[in-house]
Symmetry: C2
DNA sequence: TTCCATGCAAACAATTTGCAGCAGT
DNA sequence: ACTGCTGCAAATTGTTTGCATGGAA
């Protein structure tokens, strides 16, 4: 656990449930360790994704987002503002049947698209 | 319907269920229209995604894939070889409950990761 | 001393865009 | 004469990598 990784961990904590991009994590991490480099943030995030400490969320037309909350849950992306919201695991049910038996399923990612309350009211608000 | 869009449509048909990248669509489209440019393929694919004629599939660490089959179905990505397989709609069940009522769900994308039969047998075969 | 992580900058891959020309209406 | 689409190349964006350095075991 280097100071840099610590800064990334703290940045992710600071980000709360905002599902930050690597750039945002970088900005937050600099508050803890002003000398940290962007490349280091990428390296640490990737390592943490690989090791399962962090989840990488893919979005269309945009940078990957990261989530330090690795509890089973799914994400909904607002196509108006780009915000990502969490849906708790017990509110999501995914079932897959008739998977060929020689195929080994590893994990699911469910991503839904939505229009969030704000964007519904005030119109698309593309970030 | 320009000759270029036609070439892209034909390329997607030729690709069958291989879920090609834009580069692959470009290569296939050139067989129909050798003068077509890569930028034009991107432009047409994006337009077709926007209009709902084509689905864009996001994968980690790689170029977007495209699918001309817009019937409701989900995809499983083999983390060994990178191939994407289809799972028919009636074999997938997704339910989401307790979505705040002012949030309007638009569509789901379910992506699972797997190890396909080949990769299970012959070991990871990272493309 | 060995090893891995870092800062920095350059390299890279995927995609988008500006622009001038052309095709169809 | 507009309008929208194209080819081409350059630009952008997001991310990775090579390299020399530095710190920890």
């Amino acid at each position: 656990m280097t100071a840099q990784k610590m800064a990334v961990v703290n940045a992710l904590r600071d980000a709360g449930r905002t599902h930050p991009t690597a750039e945002t994590v970088y900005a937050l991490a600099k508050r803890h360790l002003p000398t940290i480099a962007l490349g280091t943030v990428y390296r640490n995030l990737s390592k943490m994704v690989e090791s399962g400490e962090v989840v990488r969320i893919l979005v269309p037309d945009g940078a990957d987002r990261f989530d330090a909350d690795i509890s089973d849950h799914m994400h909904i992306l607002c196509i108006g503002c780009g915000k990502i919201y969490d849906i708790e695991e017990n509110n999501v049910k995914v079932e897959i049947s008739n998977v060929p038996e020689d195929v080994q399923l590893i994990r699911f990612d469910v991503m839904a698209k939505c229009l969030c309350a704000d964007c519904k009211q005030h119109g698309l608000n593309k970030k």
